[in-house]
Symmetry: C2
Subunit: 403 residues, 2 copies
């Protein structure tokens, strides 16, 4: 399936797709993967394949909500520090006899007939007889059947990564295995530092960074092809089977050796190359068979920004997660002017200080170090030329985590 | 080292430590662990042991910031679409001759003598001669040496988990291994569901939940002891060597079989038992030798809340992370009244809808399902009896992730 490919090398892009078009392409070509079963204890961070409903009431019977003595509430009426009423202490398992009390601990089922739990401080035990020093109302210290969850109630929705408490609840309900969305297998193709840069391949920043980003978004790097620095090698890496998505880093620009788009067009379809996104305008995307491919710029900052908005969206969609940016959002007031280019979606790195967002350098400058110095980023839509001081903006905060 | 242990069984707590005292105990008894070396690619999520400074300028020489032709800017003065100036195209490696231009790609070092990069659209190549169609100013398209990072500049601080871009920058600087804080090895002791509850051990919710929480906070569960349901078994699990911290779940209350505090007092020191924290008031803490131990309530909701405020703080401190709650904070207006108890720190689960926080049930009710239904929680300090509708509160948001 070879498609038309406009060769931008030594010419530059004659036109750019909008970032919205690129996002729409991702949405149209990345479907949530199918299900697999995993042990509940391995499920944190995974996404349920189908919403889960409660198969039972929880608790399945009335139970003690605190440690104490199970009693019939009406039998305690009139009890007081100066008028102790004496109850017979009986075994907890049997139905509660008249005038009797039974020791219960938090979470234990109430003996049949009991309707309240008397706290220890309201009683005094003397051998097998219990002096009750206060009256309790019916229901005190009792957690009613189905108080927590009623059979059939919706429990956990899809599209969110399972949190620690979600996994705890599944375990509490006796769910030992759950059906989750299969983890996307991602191939990284590191198209290699440019020969002219003269850096050894060990200085590739994109591989380790993309590895961490893919894992954050619920994917798993299945294999990494390094040093694919000419068209044939890139094409072979694209055509090899066994993955759900391919991210190529590097060789996407307008230099003579930027052959990644040509390689994709050769073995599949290059749908988009050149996007009105800064940094990251040389990003491309397409498919080999049904496998979506994103061509990311080799420059690490552009690679990061294009990953966040486009390749990450692809991984998140495949993983069944919310496709939007996964960073927590904090509202902030612009401190120093944020300058952006009309016609481009700009990813502006900012620092947050005292609730104010200050740009870290200009949009296309500062390299990866600017993202390291930043607390987050502001996405400036293409019609705007920036944000004036005092404007309210939404900052996507890097690296705050509570998965 | 056996210490005095007030037996609260069948009596209840005669006094409670404040949550602040419990946090202070954690702070006094949990020091950041020592360092280990890891490969940079394995460093995401780890914490640097020492702040890192740049050992080199980045870039280490002036380089092209875009694809194009390296030129001397002053030689392009006067060039225009109707007045093309002709340059000789030379090899990029050699010093730039007079009247010459050399092809460069983004990131490539500039040839000696060049001081600007002419974009492709401003030139027309005809064999070995280049028609220059526009003048460029000195510095155009050039990234100056040390523009991104100057030698000796502080690069990455400690106390934050390394983010994808941090790891990318380290790789770009040629840092192949980094010194990070050793990952805390945590033992989970699941003190078993109470015999009276009659649930099979597979229904333990705390184990899988704590596993995920410890991992979130930068620790690693080294071993899990299950079914330690009497004093001797708990004491043996506490006394075994090989971990940096121990979390016991269950058997902390006032029932006759709540022997975890007694076990800790027997083999070490029970420093605190009973905390003015809801849910989670039966939490305890102490040490076996130098190893800090937190006794968490068996009830899963209380276990979760006590983990977040106390045990998690311990793990985060050992791991070198910020000890405060790791959840992203969102400011919200209280919708329905949040009711809390004076004298207790209350962990109130809330849902967020349209920027308003609505409590999910009351503080001590609803079980783990209330934390599953919640988007986050509000920590109400002990002097307050809650928050009225319209009040602004800080919501710690569960499960938003961008690690």
């Amino acid at each position: 399936m070879t498609t038309h490919c406009h060769d931008v090398r030594l010419h530059g892009f004659s036109s750019l797709a909008s970032t919205e078009q690129a996002m729409a392409w991702v949405d149209a070509h990345a479907e949530r993967l199918l299900a697999e079963m995993v042990a509940t204890e391995d499920a944190p961070g995974r996404v349920l394949y189908a919403p889960l409903q409660a198969a039972d009431d929880l608790p399945s019977a009335d139970r003690a909500a605190e440690d104490g003595y199970a009693v019939r509430a009406r039998e305690t009426i009139g009890a007081g520090a100066y008028n102790p009423l004496v109850f017979a202490l009986q075994e907890p398992g049997a139905p509660l006899g008249p005038g009797a009390a039974a020791l219960v601990t938090t979470g234990a089922p109430l003996p049949h007939g009991a309707d309240a739990v008397l706290p220890f401080r309201a009683a005094h035990l003397d051998g097998a007889s219990l002096e009750v020093l206060a009256a309790v109302a019916e229901g005190t210290g009792v957690e009613r059947r189905a108080h927590e969850i009623r059979t059939g109630a919706p429990l956990i929705d899809t599209s969110c990564a399972l949190r620690p408490q979600d996994v705890g609840l599944l375990a509490a309900l006796g769910v030992e295995r759950v059906q989750v969305v299969r983890r996307p297998r991602v191939r990284l193709v590191i198209a290699g530092p440019k020969r002219s840069v003269g850096l050894p391949p060990s200085r590739d920043a994109d591989g380790p960074m993309l590895h961490a980003l893919v894992a954050r978004d619920g994917g798993a790097v299945e294999d990494v092809v390094v040093g694919a620095d000419e068209r044939g090698a890139i094409a072979r890496a694209l055509a090899a089977p066994g993955v759900d998505a391919i991210l190529v880093a590097g060789r996407t620009g307008t230099g003579p050796d930027d052959e990644a788009p040509l390689a994709l067009a050769e073995v599949g379809e290059l749908a988009i190359h050149g996007i009105a996104l800064r940094p990251g305008s040389s990003t491309g995307m397409g498919r080999v068979g049904a496998v979506p491919v994103v061509l990311l710029p080799g420059d690490p900052l552009a690679c990061l920004c294009a990953y966040e908005l486009l390749a990450g969206r692809l991984v998140r969609r495949l993983a069944g997660r919310d496709p939007r940016l996964p960073h927590p959002v904090r509202e902030a007031e612009v401190g120093r002017k944020i300058v952006s280019a009309v016609g481009f979606v700009d990813v502006c790195r900012v620092r947050l200080a005292d609730g104010r967002a200050e740009p870290v350098g200009s949009v296309e400058e500062g390299g990866l170090a600017s993202a390291v110095r930043a607390d987050g980023f502001v996405v400036v839509p293409s019609p705007l030329e920036g944000h004036a001081p005092g404007a309210r903006v939404r900052v996507h905060v890097y690296g705050e985590s509570a998965s």
